[in-house]
Symmetry: C2
Subunit: 136 residues, 2 copies
């Protein structure tokens, strides 16, 4: 695949594609006679994996480490253990999100409890002290 096809299919821009390439996150591209890059179609899976991982809050460095588990230096056992640690990080992040959701729900409830008139006025409670008096 040529750059333009890739960036259209993956929804990233040319510079980001190159940036990921310099970071070693992408499969090696063949070169045409004139030096144009020709990536394997699998690059779309790779970019999709990068996106999912980024959305999950992992850095490009971490993503690279996951990608490199395929390398022949890493045994399945080591790879599995690394994956299990990452899995735990994911669970921790989920916990943080549940906590955040709770805080936001409480804030919303506190606003709604003010009724129609209250909703039109400034709200003087703030997130950091609200700590879910509303039993959520």
């Amino acid at each position: 695949m040529k750059p333009k096809e890739i960036i259209q299919a993956a929804g990233i821009d040319r510079e980001t594609l190159r940036f990921y390439e310099t970071k070693g996150l992408l499969p090696k591209a063949k070169r045409t006679s004139s030096g144009y890059r020709d990536f394997p179609d699998s690059i779309l899976d790779r970019l999709s994996f990068i996106k999912t991982s980024k959305d999950a809050g992992f850095t490009l460095r971490e993503i690279k480490e996951l990608i490199e588990l395929k390398s022949k230096k890493v045994t399945c056992r080591n790879g599995r253990d690394i994956a299990l640690r990452k899995r735990q990080e994911v669970l921790d992040k989920m916990k943080a999100l549940r906590e955040m959701k709770k805080i936001l729900d409480c804030f919303v409830d506190a606003c709604n409890e003010k009724g129609e008139k209250g909703l039109s006025r400034p709200c003087h409670f703030s997130f950091d002290t609200i700590s879910c008096k509303f039993g959520k």
Copy 2:
């Protein structure tokens, strides 16, 4: 509270405290006669809120916006709607994390399926193509 008490209680360092202060994330500190800062105890709630928000993947800019909902310019209705949008972002992040967890689970299962001998050898499948053939 004086800086040292705060950084010990909150587990951040002096420079980070000051950095947050310059970013307008912290309550105003009174000054002692000699110019030392004296923060209200509520700073610990604030720092805790910042931590939760950061763990949930929000930027300091976003966190500041949430903190400023208390300002008198914002009605409860507007504040509530902003909170509801943030809540949706949290739900989206949760979805990304579930997706990531699924990928990691599949990788772990794929490794385990190799058995004792396989676990000691390199694993040649990678995350971006594994796409949960294992029915998770």
